[in-house]
Amino acid sequence: MLATRDDVYAVLAGVMDPEVPVISVVDLGIVRDAAVDGTAVRVTVTPTYSGCPAMHEIETDIRSALVAAGASEVQVDMVFAPAWTTDWIGPEAREKLRAYGIAPPGRAEPQGLITLTRAKAPVPCPFCGSSDTRLQSEFGSTACKAIHVCNSCRQPFDEFKAF
């Protein structure tokens, strides 16, 4: 029975990111709010990347999870502000990412304009922990990931980009 905002969050904690199935939509920080009115539920969600093809899937998954939990009606509102940041991913979720083989994001860059060149600290390898790694490409298998290679264990790995 869904009676409170917390109940809705508890259900959504079981809705996994389709691309990274070890962290939930709540872990990811994209669930911004929820409200219950009788058996109708309203969820406010913000997209990770604006072109992320998983967003439709996520919306569908949220609906079916809430309907399965007893909601008669589910409204999913999409908001753009404040813009999603990986700083909303908590320490536990970061550890889940690392254990899954994806280097968790570092701190997001400050708002505003950027310097075009940067000396970025190497991202530690999620497999062997070495810091002797190099960036292969800023763009990886999904919008949210970059590709790195570990010089120690020779393993290529994904990084959840700080964003």
Binding site: G51, C52, A83, E109, L116, F139, A143
Partner: protein
């Protein structure tokens, strides 16, 4: 199609097959437009839709796998931006058109993108150089818009800006790599820059639409942005050992619906599925 030159007045009297669409070309730069905010957001959305499509043409054709993935990722981001902006444009217009209706069921003359984004993708140097010139412009405009009093525009701009910063860094790094690379890559990068330069002026045009949206809480100082842009471009070109072209005559017209022939061809590819199967879903 051929016209019989022997038939006097035949050409003048022939119905214009595209007369209705031709009426969608906006008037002169000082003409009053019915819904300037709609036009303004359409410009933002169309730039990103058209450029996103051009980038997507590299999918499966990138020079190396990582770059194929990068260009496709950037295409996806830009189409995502276009989707949000065109949805907002449709809402602003208030005639029931959503982002798909605006993307797939408008003619070339109804598009408001700048000409630079519709040019064919060319070689990799051309694609990268165009991307760099546009990205540098885009981050500056989005940064200004993210502080606009119009909350809806500001929210979408702030979102897009975060992603565009990645694009700019990527394209800048490639400009340096190509310009300061081999003789071949240097020559191609310089040629691309020389070809593209005359299309950059249009990005900073300030017209009646820009004036009118000030009342809607959108104030972007194009002259100030252009001067910052020149500084950014000069910095990267310097490191890339490339020569900034001299300013000359600029090509313009896209903002008012006067496009190169390339846009129509691109739209025929982009729109055919939606137009062949209107309302299809899967």
């Amino acid at each position: 199609m051929s016209h019989d030159p022997g038939e006097p007045g035949g050409l003048a009297q022939a119905p214009r097959p595209n007369a209705e669409a031709a009426a969608a070309v906006a008037g002169t730069r000082t003409t009053r437009v019915e819904n300037p905010l709609f036009e303004y957001v359409l410009r933002l959305g169309d730039d990103r839709l058209v450029l996103g499509h051009r980038l997507s043409e590299w999918c499966g054709h990138g020079p190396i796998l990582e770059e194929d993935i990068a260009l496709s990722n950037m295409a996806l981001d830009l189409i995502g931006h276009a989707s949000a902006l065109l949805a907002l444009a449709g809402e602003t217009e208030g005639k029931g058109r959503d982002q798909d209706a605006l993307a797939y069921f408008r003619e070339a003359v109804e598009f408001r993108n700048a000409l630079i984004v519709e040019l064919p993708k060319g070689d990799f140097a051309f694609t990268i150089m165009r991307q760099f010139l546009f990205d540098a412009y885009s981050v500056l405009v989005l940064d200004a818009l993210s502080r606009a009093a119009n909350e809806k525009v500001a929210a979408v701009a702030a979102k897009c800006l975060k992603e565009d910063k990645y694009h700019l860094r990527h394209s800048s790094e490639w400009v340096v790599r190509l310009g300061d690379g081999t003789e071949e890559s240097h020559a191609r990068a310089q040629r691309a820059l020389d070809e593209l330069w005359r299309f950059t002026g249009e990005l900073f045009d300030h017209d009646a639409i820009d004036e009118a949206v000030a009342a809607e809480g959108i104030v972007v100082d194009h002259a100030a942005i252009q001067s910052v842009w020149r500084g950014m471009v000069a910095d990267v070109l310097g490191r890339a050992t490339l020569k900034m072209p001299e300013d000359g005559a600029y090509n313009r017209g896209g903002r008012r619906g006067r496009h190169t022939e390339h846009l129509g061809h691109m739209l025929s590819v982009m729109q055919i599925v939606a137009r062949s199967h209107p309302g299809a879903s899967w």
